[in-house]
């Protein structure tokens, strides 16, 4: 909602257009619908009365696209931009239970129609996050077709294996800026302010041509909520109860275990300024021993609209957390207990970011955005008296982008970015680093419904005393609509990832994994090349199909290897001892070929909606001529929902085929007892919710049952996934 606040022209001759957007069934005005003017960079969001006005246009006939989650988008042609504006045009959106988002920003760094994007892109809406009682964002990712999550490490179309999160091959963005930790280059899901997210866009495939390092497998852009037009006080209470596992041996706890959370928030505006603040408290007692967490979250966003064309927003976001250090089970017989050495460990962390973004729409053809972010991470791990590991990292990032509509059918985006890191840790040492980048992308509509995108980015990274490394990442993409209901797309893009300070310099002989971890400052950057061809078509009013074939070539993949090796435990030792040793190395050349099919159907007068996504992969380790570790060949996601007025019942099912190959050496040498135990994953979730507005209460109540079958499985070796959970959610706004 409120995606845009554009539209103020500096031209002497300006026009404007205005309208009202209504629900096609009830006739009620729709607040928060997105309106964009094709061929320009201008747009608006509707207010409480469903009204919008877009200024700064050159006087002429325009085409606008109106979209909103839960409604079919509408394309209105031949609307005159005049001065003064003509009477408001009335636009009607037809409801659909398919929660589709049509306007996205990640693929081209500007608002564009989802169907113009020449790559596969999925959108997670705030509504689905709330409906599913998502606590951390990695849970939401599990519902995206083609995406799997190994504990907390995300894997888009097989791009990632498992490295305890270190060195993510998926780039996480928070409001368009990279949001990976400065020390280990990983995603810390808990730092994402879930309750303040407007939507999440997931690009499947390499995205380094616009976003640089780490975007080998994909890009996830988390967009925080805009400040609403009217003041509101928000609250959300949730409580979940873990069911007992099937086996008595796994019932280690006498009292029932709960997961609970409360979030309180306020948002309001005073003239051109607005603020949104929320504070959250979460406690998870966990179904596993020494796996509980307690956390506080604070999120604040401020926004100042200097004019309709100039906007400054600032964000402060912080997490403070204490949690147990369950790395892997003691054995499958004691699957809910950690190995003895992990039983008393605790990790305390404080993480947070402060960011600011200034955007100015200079004219209907030109806008620029300047962004900056500080992301700080501190954690300490006092694992079972085996010494304390501490890491403090600071990351500064800036990005300046300019987008110019060269013509109505040609958009040029230019930008520069820079980052600086500083890490101090007994695990990783004391190191600094910096990087600089420049990018350019041109989108050209070369025919009606046909777009060509060409771009490239140059990145230079330097870490500590190591030599700097530069890289150019090009891309090309095309989308071609043979009709309004059938669009083909194709893209080819490069990705790369510079190794994190953690991978380069980690060194430890005392940690809960019981492995000696050695540094490897000779690591080279990973690279990838992604190709995709796909097609989307609306077969009928009620059926949409999306098909994609993709191909990824990876080089120099960095993987943690575990071996037995004679080493000196300290530099002063003269004798060598044989120990299980882990170190990161460029060991793998890989190819992942796959196909993805998506089907969306609405049934029974559109009361019932079903989404099915199936992905098949052939992930080859070309170095060893075998399947890549920690990949599943088949994933199937199916969701169906029945919406009846204020009531909604839905179900999610996901199937992930058994991981065929894992790290045998890790299992043997760590050791992880019964580490080879794994099964195909079948998870069924059910939920029901009701808005109590008709009872005069501004409240929505929801009941969720996750893992209804109480199916026992592992996503990651040695880690039993949660059993069935019953949860109750109460949320509302005043």
């Amino acid at each position: 909602m409120g995606l845009f606040l554009l539209a103020h022209a500096v031209h002497a001759q300006v026009g404007a257009l205005q309208g009202v957007v209504r629900d096609g069934e009830s006739g009620d005005p729709l607040e928060g619908a997105n309106v964009i003017v094709r061929g320009t960079l201008l747009g608006a969001a509707t207010d409480r009365e469903g009204r919008f006005i877009i200024r700064g246009l050159l006087p002429r006939s325009c085409t606008i696209v109106v979209s909103m989650v839960g409604f079919r988008p509408a394309v209105i042609e031949n609307i005159r931009a005049t001065d003064p504006p003509q009477p408001a045009v009335e636009i009607v959106l037809k409801p659909t239970p398919i929660p589709t988002e049509q306007i996205v920003v990640t693929a081209s760094r500007r608002e564009q129609d989802l169907r113009e994007v020449p790559a596969s892109l999925a959108v997670i809406t705030a509504r689905s996050i709330a409906d599913r009682n998502i606590v951390t964002m990695d849970e939401a990712m599990r519902y995206v077709p083609g995406v799997t999550v190994l504990q907390d490490q995300i894997n888009i179309r097989g791009s990632s294996g498992y490295s305890r999160g270190v060195g993510s091959r998926v780039l996480l963005l928070l409001d368009g800026l990279p949001f990976l930790t400065g020390d280990t280059g990983e995603i810390n899901w808990e730092t994402i302010p879930v309750r303040d997210v407007e939507r999440v866009e997931v690009i499947k495939g390499a995205g380094s041509a616009l976003y640089g390092s780490s975007a080998l497998g994909g890009v996830i852009n988390v967009l925080t909520r805009s400040i609403p037009e009217r003041s509101e006080f928000r609250f959300r209470l949730s409580s979940g109860l873990y069911d007992r596992p099937r086996y008595e041996e796994w019932n280690w706890y006498a009292k029932e275990r709960f997961q609970s959370g409360v979030t309180l928030g306020y948002a309001g505006r005073l003239g051109p300024a607005g603020i949104s603040v929320s504070i959250g408290r979460g406690v998870d007692e966990s179904y596993r021993e020494n796996d509980a967490y307690h956390r506080w979250t604070v999120f604040a966003k401020g926004q100042v609209d200097f004019s309709e064309a100039r906007q400054l927003s600032v964000v402060f976001n912080m997490l403070n957390r204490t949690h147990g250090n369950f790395i892997w089970w003691k054995s499958l017989r004691d699957a809910t207990r950690p190995s003895d050495i992990q039983r008393d460990g605790r990790v305390r962390s404080t993480r947070g970011n402060f960011s600011a973004a200034f955007r100015e729409t200079v004219s209907e053809r030109l806008f620029y955005v300047v962004k900056g972010m500080y992301f700080g991470n501190f954690w300490k791990d006092d694992s079972a008296g085996r010494g304390m590991n501490v890491s403090t990292s600071h990351r500064l990032q800036t990005d300046a982008q300019l987008t110019y509509a060269v013509a109505e059918d040609n958009f040029l985006t230019l930008g520069v970015a820079a980052n600086a890191d500083d890490v101090e840790s007994n695990l990783f040492g004391t190191h600094g680093g910096y990087g600089m980048a420049a990018y350019v992308q041109d989108e050209w509509r070369f025919a009606e419904r046909a777009n060509l995108t060409v771009g490239a980015r140059y990145d230079m990274q330097k870490v500590s005393t190591l030599a700097g490394a530069g890289r150019i990442s090009p891309k090309i993409g095309v989308s071609f609509g043979v009709s309004p209901s059938a669009i083909f797309r194709a893209s080819l893009g490069a990705g790369f990832r510079y190794p994190s300070i953690g991978e380069l310099f980690v060194s430890s002989s005392s940690n809960v994994s019981q492995l000696v971890i050695l540094p490897n400052p000779n690591l080279k950057p990973e690279t990838s090349l992604t190709g995709e061809v796909g097609a989307w078509t609306r077969v009928s009013q009620n059926v949409e199909v999306d098909l994609a074939l993709f191909w990824n070539e990876f080089n120099n993949l960095i993987e943690p290897g575990v071996t037995l090796k004679p080493i000196r435990l300290s530099p002063s030792d003269t004798a060598e001892v044989t120990r299980a040793v882990a170190e990161f190395a460029n060991i793998t050349r890989a190819r992942i070929v796959g196909a993805e099919a998506g089907l969306t159907i609405t049934w029974v007068e559109r009361l019932l909606a079903t989404d099915v996504g199936y992905t098949v992969l052939w992930p080859e380790d070309l170095s060893q001529n075998t399947i890549l570790k920690f990949r599943s060949r088949h994933t199937l996601h199916a969701s169906t929902s029945l919406t009846w007025g204020e009531y909604r019942v839905s179900a999610d099912y996901r199937f992930i085929s058994r991981v065929e190959r894992v790290d045998d050496q890790l299992i043997t040498l760590a050791p992880i007892v019964h580490g080879h135990s794994r099964v195909p994953i079948h998870v069924l979730d059910l939920r029901a919710s009701a808005a109590l507005v008709s009872l005069g209460l501004p409240v929505r109540i929801g009941v969720n049952v996750t893992n209804v079958l109480n199916y026992h499985y592992v996503e990651l070796i040695g880690n039993l996934a949660p059993p069935r959970m019953y949860s109750l959610v109460l949320e509302g706004s005043l």
Binding site: L332, A575, T578, V604, L608, V673, S677, V679, Y711
Partner: protein, 164 residues
């Protein structure tokens, strides 16, 4: 009817998934394998005892062997007594030694030929589990797991490197 199709597919899928991971059997950790003597046997009165040992300490020397045995870091099979021994004059015999979970860096066959059982000079290592010639192989034994297929070769007239 069309709306029943996904439901039917779902039921079929779920019917095939049972309950997932099951509880593995309770197994005492152990190592097992075969001891093969490839040389002639020495006179019986020169081999007073033959034991299999598995050591979590490496290297073993005269200073740490006895503390290792009494602390449980070195396991003696078939038993820690002068009455127990592996069979004499059997060229191939199997063993199943229960051991605590752990990493065993040095596994082999120990022979006692002297009468002073507290003197390391009374003992000789007559064969080891090898990674490569003369190089001990490490074996990791985990909870609920039996490590099988260990092959130890004994040559009474061509001894491996001695720890003491």
């Amino acid at each position: 009817m069309k709306s029943l199709l996904p439901s039917l597919l779902l039921v079929l899928l779920l019917a095939s998934c049972e309950g997932g991971l099951t509880l593995p059997p309770l197994i005492e950790p152990a190592m097992e394998g075969t001891i093969t003597v490839v040389s002639p046997w020495p006179p019986q009165d020169s081999v007073k005892n033959l034991w299999l040992f598995a050591s979590q300490i490496f290297p073993v020397d005269s200073a740490n062997i006895f503390t290792g045995i009494f602390s449980g870091s070195i396991i003696i099979y078939p038993g820690l007594s002068l009455d127990s021994t592996l069979a004499y004059n059997v060229n191939a015999q199997t063993f199943h030694a229960r051991v605590p979970p752990g990493t065993y860096y040095y596994i082999g066959i120990l022979a006692r030929h002297g009468d002073q059982f507290l003197e390391t000079s009374s003992y000789r290592v007559v064969g080891i589990l090898e990674e490569s010639p003369g190089q001990p192989r490490t074996v990791i034994v985990r909870e609920y797991e039996v490590v099988s297929g260990l092959e130890i070769t004994v040559d009474f007239y061509n001894l491996p490197p001695q720890p003491f």
